[in-house]
C-alpha cells in the first residue's frame, strides 16, 4: 500500500488551564466525567490514530460534542494537541515553527467552514482570491484565477457582489471556490454543508463528488449526518465523546457496525440509498458458458437451478432456462446454443445505488445479473438478498418508516 498522506498518532486534546497536568489521569484511563469533576479539565480527544490516503475523501462523523470539529482543526493546527503526532508526508507538522506553519497553511491545506467564514467587506471575487492574496500573488493574476474557480462552482456573474447578498448555498460555493483557488492538495471541510437546507445540500454533495472526480484532492470532511458521510466518503471514521469508535469504508460501517453506538446510527440510515448493488450482490453462480445445448444442460445440473446466465467471449448475452434447453435437447443435443434459446434480461450495473434497482429486482422472475460496463458478469442480485439487507432495518427498529 502507498504511504499515507496524513498520519495522526496518539493524539490527545485536553481543554483547561493546565492540560499537561491532567495527562497522567488520562493515560490511567480515567473517564471524561471523572476528569472533569476532579480537575475541571475537559477531555476533547482521546488517543486518536488515523491515516488519510492521497486522493480519498475521508469523512469524520460524530454528533455535536464528539470532538470532530476539534479534530479537523488539528490538521492545520488551528488547535494544538496536548499530546500526539501529526505528520504530513514526511513533515512533522507539530515541529513546524510559526513562519513555516504559515507557509504550510498557505500551500498545503485549505479549509471550508460551516458558517462559510467569508469576509463580509470583500466582494465574492476578492473572497475567492483571498488565499492567493495572502500568498502575495499579484492582483491581476489572482483575480483571473479566482474568476475561473468561480465559474467552475457555477457562480459566474456574481463577482462583484458581497457575500451578504448571496444565499447560503451560493455563499458556500464561494467558500468552496476559495478553498480550491489556492490549489492546495488537501481540503478540510468542517461541516461544510450542514448549514444548508436539504435540497441545496444534496446539490452541493453532487458538485463536490463531481469536482473530486476531476481534481483528485485529498478531502477531509466533517459531518454529523451519516447519510452524507456514506454518500461522499471513501472511508469513514466515527467519533464519540472524543474517541474513535470505528474506521472503515461505508459498507463496512453499514454492514458491520463495531458496537451498539454505531449500530444505533446505522439503523436510521436509508440503506437503499447508501448501498450499491456491488455491496449486496452474491457472487455469480449461474454462469452458463457452454457452446451446445447438451453441455449447457450439464452445467445447469451442476448449478442446481432452473435458469442460468449465458456468457460467451463477448460477455453476458441473456438468460437461458432449463425448460427451453430440455425442449431443444429433445430435438438435437449437439445443437449450438444460439440467440434463439436466450431470453432477454437486462443486467444492472455494480455501481448502481440499490434504490434505483428495486423495481427491476422485484418485477423480474429471476435474480438479476450484475454486469459491469465491459459486459462481464460480476454477480447476481436476488429479491431475497435485497429483502435481507433492506428488511433488517425494519426488523430491529420496528418502525413504519418506508424506504423513501
Amino acid at each position: 500500500m502507498a504511504k499515507p498522506l496524513i498520519q495522526i498518532e496518539g493524539l490527545y486534546k485536553v481543554f483547561g488551564k493546565q492540560p499537561k497536568s491532567v495527562m497522567p489521569m488520562v493515560h490511567a484511563g480515567q473517564s471524561k466525567e471523572q476528569i472533569l469533576a476532579d480537575t475541571g479539565h475537559t477531555l476533547g480527544l482521546k488517543n486518536i490514530n488515523m491515516t488519510v490516503n492521497k486522493g480519498e475523501i475521508f469523512v469524520i462523523m460524530g454528533l455535536s460534542g464528539s470532538g470532530k470539529s476539534t479534530l479537523i482543526r488539528h490538521f492545520n493546527r488551528l488547535i494544538d494537541p496536548t499530546e500526539g503526532v501529526i505528520k504530513f508526508e514526511d513533515i512533522d507538522v507539530m515541529k513546524l515553527p510559526a513562519k513555516e506553519l504559515e507557509q504550510f497553511r498557505r500551500h498545503k491545506m485549505s479549509m471550508v467552514f460551516q458558517r462559510f467564514g467569508l469576509m463580509p467587506h470583500r466582494t465574492v471575487l476578492e473572497n475567492v482570491s483571498y488565499g492567493l492574496s495572502i500568498q502575495g500573488v499579484k492582483k491581476g493574476v489572482r483575480l483571473a484565477k479566482a474568476k475561473e474557480w468561480l465559474d467552475t462552482v457555477g457562480l459566474a456573474g456574481y463577482e462583484s457582489q458581497y457575500p451578504a447578498q448571496l444565499s447560503g448555498g451560493q455563499q458556500q460555493r464561494v467558500g468552496l471556490a476559495r478553498a480550491l483557488c489556492t490549489n492546495a492538495e488537501i481540503l478540510l471541510m468542517d461541516e461544510a454543508f450542514s448549514a444548508l437546507d436539504p435540497l441545496i445540500r444534496s446539490e452541493m454533495q453532487d458538485q463536490l463528488i463531481e469536482l473530486q472526480d476531476k481534481l483528485h484532492k485529498t478531502i477531509i470532511f466533517i459531518t454529523h449526518d451519516l447519510d452524507e458521510a456514506l454518500r461522499i466518503g471513501d472511508r469513514i471514521a466515527i467519533l464519540k465523546d472524543g474517541e474513535m469508535v470505528q474506521q472503515g469504508t461505508p459498507d463496512e460501517i453499514l454492514l458491520n457496525p463495531a458496537n451498539d453506538y454505531v449500530e444505533a446510527f446505522v439503523k436510521d440510515v436509508n440503506r437503499a440509498r447508501a448501498l450499491t448493488v456491488e455491496n449486496v450482490m452474491k457472487p455469480p453462480s449461474r454462469r452458463i458458458t457452454a457452446d451446445t445445448i447438451g453441455e449447457a444442460l450439464e452445467q445447469m445440473k451442476i448449478i442446481k437451478g432452473d435458469y442460468g446466465y449465458y456468457v460467451n467471449d463477448d460477455g453476458y448475452q441473456g438468460i437461458v432456462t432449463q425448460d427451453t434447453l430440455e425442449e431443444a435437447c429433445c430435438e438435437n443435443d449437439s445443437q449450438k446454443l444460439g440467440d434463439e434459446f436466450l431470453e432477454e434480461l437486462a443486467g444492472i450495473a455494480p455501481g448502481a445505488i440499490l434504490e434505483t434497482v428495486i423495481p427491476e429486482t422485484l418485477e423480474a422472475e429471476y435474480s438479476l445479473p450484475v454486469i459491469d460496463k465491459d459486459g462481464n458478469l460480476k454477480g447476481e442480485l436476488s429479491r431475497r438478498s435485497l429483502a435481507d439487507v433492506l428488511g433488517d432495518r425494519e426488523k430491529c427498529e420496528g418502525n413504519t418508516k418506508t424506504a423513501a
Partner: protein, 299 residues
C-alpha cells in the same frame, strides 16, 4: 485620641501627618516639574508648532474658501446635499454673528485633538484586544480618565507646562480618548471568530489578520468610538478655555463670570452647530463605508 471616641468619631489621621503628606507630594511634584518641565515642553514643541500653524492657516484663509473646502469635505464624506446646505447655513450664521475667528480656533484645536486621539487610541485599543492582561490594566485607567473631574488633572498639567495650547490639548485628549480605545478593543473582540479562523487557516500572519480582517470588520464600532471622541472633545472646549485655550470656550467663560446670557447662548449654539456637523459627517461616512452590510438580512 481618647480610648472611647473611635466608636463615634472616625479614627482619622493626624492633621500634621496629612499636611506632611500633602506638602511632600506637592513639593516632589514641583521639583519634578522644575527639573523636567522644560524638556517635556520641548518634547511637545512640534505639536505646538503644528497647532499654531493649523490655527493660523484657518484664520488666514478667506472665509468663503473655508466654507467651500469644508463643504467639499462634507460632500466627499457623505454625498448628501442636505447636509452640505446645513453646513453652509450654519457657517454663514456663525460668521454673521461675529464668531468666525473663535470658531476657526475651536475647529483647529478639535481637529488636532481628534486626530491625536485616533492616532493614539486605535493602537492602544488594538493592544488591549490582543492581550487580556493589557485589557485588565488599561480598563481601570480609562475608568479613571473618564470619571476624574477634568479640573483635577488640569492642575498637574498646568503646573508642568503652564497655561496655553499644549496643556489644553493634553486635557482634551485625556478626556476624549477613552471611547475610541474602548470601542476599538470591543470592535476587534467582536469580530466573527470563524472569519478570523478562516484567515488563519489560509496562512495569514498577524499583520494580515489585523489589517485584512480585524480592523475592517471592527470599523463600524471604531467609527462609533471616533464619533464619541469628537463629541467629548467639543464638550471640553469650555473647560480648556480656563487654561488659556482660545476659541468658542472663552466667550462662554466670560459670560459665566459676567452674566452675559446672550453671549453665552450664541457661542454655545456655535459649539452645538460644530458638534452636529462633526457628528453627522462622521456617522454618514461610517455608514457609507459599510455598504457591503446592506442586504445582510437576506443571508
Amino acid at each position: 485620641m481618647a480610648e472611647s471616641s473611635w466608636l463615634t468619631k472616625f479614627p482619622q489621621m493626624d492633621r500634621a501627618d496629612l499636611t506632611g503628606i500633602r506638602k511632600s507630594l506637592d513639593s516632589a511634584y514641583r521639583d519634578f516639574s522644575r527639573e523636567y518641565g522644560e524638556s517635556i515642553e520641548a518634547f511637545f514643541d512640534p505639536l505646538l508648532i503644528f497647532l499654531v500653524w493649523f490655527e493660523k492657516l484657518l484664520l488666514a484663509t478667506p472665509w468663503w474658501l473655508v466654507i467651500i473646502v469644508v463643504t467639499a469635505i462634507v460632500y466627499i464624506a457623505c454625498r448628501s446635499w442636505k447636509l452640505c446646505l446645513g453646513v453652509v447655513i450654519s457657517f454663514l450664521a456663525i460668521g454673521y454673528f461675529g464668531m468666525w475667528e473663535n470658531t476657526m480656533r475651536t475647529m483647529s484645536i478639535i481637529t488636532v485633538c481628534t486626530l491625536m486621539a485616533i492616532a493614539l487610541g486605535i493602537p492602544i485599543g488594538i493592544i488591549m484586544a490582543r492581550s487580556d492582561k493589557a485589557q485588565s490594566v488599561i480598563t481601570p485607567m480609562l475608568d479613571v480618565m473618564q470619571t476624574m473631574p477634568a479640573f483635577v488633572y488640569l492642575i498637574p498639567v498646568v503646573m508642568l507646562l503652564g497655561i496655553g495650547k499644549i496643556p489644553g490639548v493634553i486635557a482634551v485628549i485625556i478626556y476624549a480618548i477613552p471611547p475610541v480605545i474602548r470601542l476599538t478593543n470591543l470592535g476587534i473582540r467582536l469580530v466573527d471568530k470563524e472569519v478570523l479562523e478562516a484567515a488563519t487557516a489560509y496562512g495569514a500572519n498577524s499583520t494580515q489578520r489585523l489589517l485584512g480582517v480585524q480592523l475592517p470588520l471592527a470599523m463600524p464600532t471604531i467609527m462609533a468610538g471616533i464619533n464619541q471622541t469628537i463629541m467629548m472633545a467639543l464638550s471640553m472646549v469650555v473647560i480648556a478655555s480656563m487654561i488659556g485655550v482660545k476659541g468658542l470656550g472663552q466667550p462662554v467663560l466670560k459670560s459665566i463670570t459676567n452674566q452675559y446670557f446672550t453671549l453665552g447662548l450664541f457661542n454655545g449654539l456655535a459649539i452645538v452647530a460644530l458638534a452636529i456637523i462633526f457628528d453627522r459627517v462622521s456617522q454618514a461616512y461610517a455608514k457609507r463605508s459599510q455598504r457591503h452590510m446592506e442586504g445582510m438580512q437576506n443571508g
